[in-house]
């Protein structure tokens, strides 16, 4: 059974909701800003933070106050995705939701940071005051699946519920996993995407490893820029509603796009580092296109994983150049992480915007690109473009070596 996208929702550094995201992205703005210098060891650096407070929107304040930030972002994005797809799930006054007709819906979220802030709170109490001070209210939120589970609990969604981690490729990997579950018949509809925050302990560690962009220029130098010097951590929740084409047709929902092909590979490289060479990322792109039954020339654009890291952007540019072949001169390449920062959810944002671009006909621009790097022989999009988009290749490369490529295409009539 083919999986199609019929709705989406987001909580982003531009604000909550799809309109804020689309407006910010299409205007070519960047939500990356300077970080307050509150960490003891931190250098001046950039980040794309989601501003608090988040929600509660229509959710019960009583239920909301127990939730960690990732659960809040995920629940709001999930609710918007269901509403935009015309589903009926709603939060209930008592906290536990009434799925109604959408009770069969599952949730698959990718994350690498959910649970880390609650974990830090728990361990700070443990080490400062001892085990008797560990809170039974905090502990359940240290598990990374709290966000996906809270979507299920708050909205009454009783389908398959899972959380995956493939580092910075997690959100796209979640969409690929959800598409597989639908194709295998294990579920008919799944909310899929990513959620992440930028925990202070992790940002500190990254900063001390000197892999984050230093805030020495007036603005963040992002993807494919000649003067890029690292990435900016990002935050957000980006969720799409995937369902079988049959279910969408049955309930009269108009698909925005379909998941035409997915591929996941593992590239060699040192632990915790970006893929070391272009061979495996190139293979993921080619496999996804082959499984989609499309040629590179059919792509309206490529949503790249590039984030401003020296090696990542260079490796990906080479991989895309080789995979696209002669089409590389014509197929535009767009990278969102200059606008939204890097996170496990950033690649889900790229997939969400790709689905919208197929529905509405646009190519999103690459924010944070001032001086294109000379070694990048790709048609990188500076400003937003209008026009029909038949298919999009969404790419995600992760530290540790995982590479996920997904092709979304205009749904078959």
């Amino acid at each position: 059974m083919r999986a199609v996208i019929t709705g989406a929702g987001a909580v982003t550094p531009f604000g909550a909701g799809l309109p804020a995201l689309v407006e910010g992205i299409l205007a070519g703005r960047s939500a990356v800003g300077p970080e307050p210098m509150d960490g003891a060891w931190r250098r001046a650096l950039w980040a794309a933070r989601v501003r608090d407070p988040i929600g509660p929107g229509p959710f019960s304040p009583m239920a909301w106050r127990r939730l960690d930030r990732c659960s809040r972002m995920a629940a709001l994005a999930a609710l918007e995705a269901l509403a935009s797809a015309g589903e009926t799930a709603r939060p209930a006054a008592g906290g536990a939701g009434d799925g109604g007709l959408t009770a069969e819906v599952g949730v698959v979220l990718g994350t690498m940071s959910a649970g880390v802030e609650p974990l830090r709170d728990l361990l700070t109490a443990l080490f400062r005051e001892g085990p008797q001070s560990v809170s039974p209210m905090v502990f359940p939120f240290t598990v990374p699946n709290a966000a996906a589970s809270q979507c299920s609990i708050l909205l009454g969604l009783k389908g398959p519920n899972l959380t995956v981690c493939q580092m910075e490729a997690s959100g796209l990997g979640a969409i690929a996993a959800a598409a597989m579950l639908i194709e295998e018949g294990a579920a008919e509809a799944i909310l899929a995407g990513g959620v992440d925050e930028a925990p202070s302990a992790v940002v500190e560690a990254w900063s001390r490893m000197r892999i984050l962009a230093p805030a020495r220029d007036r603005r963040f130098r992002g993807p494919f820029d000649a003067r890029r010097a690292g990435f900016a951590p990002g935050e957000g929740a980006y969720v799409v509603l995937l369902e079988s084409a049959e279910r969408a047709a049955r309930r009269g929902a108009r698909p925005w796009a379909e998941v035409a092909g997915t591929a996941t590979v593992h590239a060699r490289g040192p632990a915790h580092a970006w893929p070391g060479d272009a061979g495996e990322p190139r293979r993921a792109v080619s496999l996804a296109l082959e499984r989609a039954g499309l040629r590179a020339a059919d792509l309206g654009y490529v949503a790249a994983s590039a984030n401003g890291a020296q090696r990542l952007d260079a490796v990906e540019a080479e991989a895309l150049g080789r995979a696209l072949g002669s089409a590389a001169e014509r197929v535009p390449v767009s990278a969102l992480k200059g606008a939204l920062g890097e996170s496990a959810a950033g690649c889900a944002a790229a997939a969400l915007l790709a689905a919208l671009s197929i529905r509405d006909g646009f190519v999103p621009p690459t924010a944070g690109l001032a001086d294109p790097a000379s070694g990048v022989r790709l048609e990188v999009v500076g400003e937003a473009r209008r026009g029909p988009v038949r298919a999009v290749l969404v790419n995600a490369l992760a530290t540790g070596g995982t590479c996920v490529s997904v092709v979304l295409s205009r749904p078959a009539a």
């Binding site: 599952g106 880390v116 443990l126 699946n145 609990i153 519920n161 981690c165 295998e184 593992h266 915790h272």
Partner: protein
């Protein structure tokens, strides 16, 4: 298969320990528990990590990385991966994870809170994808790499998804299973919830007082039957189907009627194309908490009706503890071995059944019984249920 658990440092010792009903739960020595309410867990004994990686790499590796690699190497050898060709680009890994890297991350934070400057690379091992990335790199697996994190059902769901990857033809071979290491976080967290038994846990027993935490790494190699036969790999069992379903109820308590796990078991039966009447063994989640044991017992009765009393239902957690993110892996391993050998391990610790738990939990000693199909259940924080349906290979 490859395994390291409190019962032994390989698959054979782990399985022999289960059949003997040996209890692997004892004093925790990995970290100080003097401030906790309890002091026992199913901790892995000494094992030789020196052969796993160069010394410099070992220093950076987390406990989860080390036991994961240890089990993965045993599994790769057992399955004769690399014999008769095989394309590493079509070999992947899909693990169930949890707190494998936490013990080291805790030390990083403890040092940072004390005003020291621990090496930042020590902080990154807690990322739950690290162990799968490391195994993929060290074994040269270049296909799918993914880690499922659904707390206590992680590995069950990972094995189901891995089977789907093989069945769909996306990969030829997938290493799957789970890795979990004891940590201060989970130990004091479950103690804060007052869910830990001060002694070895006693699933389904009237006098139970909670769960025992455990740690293990169990890796299963999944591939198509004809590929395995061609290479002469040992055959354990077939993954016939899997089911996943959410409670949508509560963060730490199962739905009391077992509604979520009922839907999960039924989804697994449907995906395997079998009826409840075909099932002759259930490896229960059976944590030894009142809520779990009663909800799961109710669920088994709802799925199997009158037959429920005639099906041996076993919890191995009285021997290997609750291995959280890897619990589903060691339980799937036990289920596969039970199918292969025609023997089910006992529910260790069970002496006087809870009146509300009135099924055949195989107390006392292992039992010889001809098996064809078995289910392995997992419940989890967040209500993330999963069920595997395994089939004996000559059935």
């Amino acid at each position: 298969v490859g395994a390291i658990s409190a019962l032994g440092a390989n698959a054979a010792a782990t399985w022999e320990g289960m059949i003997a009903g040996r209890v692997g739960i004892g004093p925790v020595t990995l970290f100080d528990t003097s401030g906790d309410r309890t002091h026992t867990a199913a901790q892995i004994g000494e094992f030789d990590a020196g052969r796993l990686a160069p010394a410099r790499e070992l220093r950076r590796a987390s406990r989860g990385d080390l036991i994961g690699l240890h089990a993965a190497l045993e599994a790769a050898l057992d399955a004769r991966i690399g014999r008769a060709g095989g394309d590493p680009r079509r070999m992947g890994i899909l693990l169930g994870g949890g707190a494998g890297g936490l013990l080291q991350a805790e030390e990083y934070l403890q040092a940072a809170l004390a005003g020291r400057r621990p090496a930042p690379s020590r902080a990154l091992g807690f990322f739950p994808a690290t162990t799968a990335d490391r195994i993929a790199r060290d074994l040269g697996l270049r296909g799918t790499c993914n880690t499922v994190l659904t707390a206590c059902s992680s590995a069950t769901i990972a094995i189901g998804m891995a089977a789907a990857l093989v069945a769909s033809g996306e990969e030829d071979l997938v290493l799957t299973g789970g890795v979990e290491a004891l940590s201060r976080t989970t130990y004091s967290g479950f103690n804060a919830l007052r869910l830990v038994d001060p002694e070895a846990c006693r699933p389904f027993d009237r006098d139970r007082r909670g769960m025992s935490l455990g740690e293990c790494a169990v890796i299963l190699v999944l591939e198509r039957l004809d590929d395995a036969r061609r290479r002469g790999a040992p055959l354990y069992a077939e993954v016939a189907g899997f089911g996943i379903a959410a409670d949508g109820h509560h963060m730490t308590a199962p739905e009391p009627g077992g509604d979520g796990i009922v839907r999960s078991m039924r989804a697994a039966l449907r995906s395997a194309g079998i009826s409840p009447d075909d099932v002759d063994h259930v490896n229960a989640h059976g944590t030894g908490t009142e809520q779990n044991d009663r909800a799961e017992t109710a669920a088994v009765k709802r799925v199997f009706g009158e037959r429920a009393r005639r099906i041996p239902i076993v919890s191995i957690k009285g021997m290997v503890g609750h291995c959280l993110g890897a619990a589903g892996a060691i339980e799937a391993f036990a289920t596969a071995m039970a199918l292969r050998d025609g023997v089910v391990p006992p529910t260790a610790g069970l002496r006087t059944p809870d009146p509300a738990c009135d099924l055949d939990y195989v107390p006392g000693a292992a039992r010889r019984v001809a098996l064809r199909v078995a289910l392995s259940n997992s419940l989890a924080f967040g209500g993330n249920n999963g069920t595997l349906a395994l089939r004996r290979l000559d059935a």
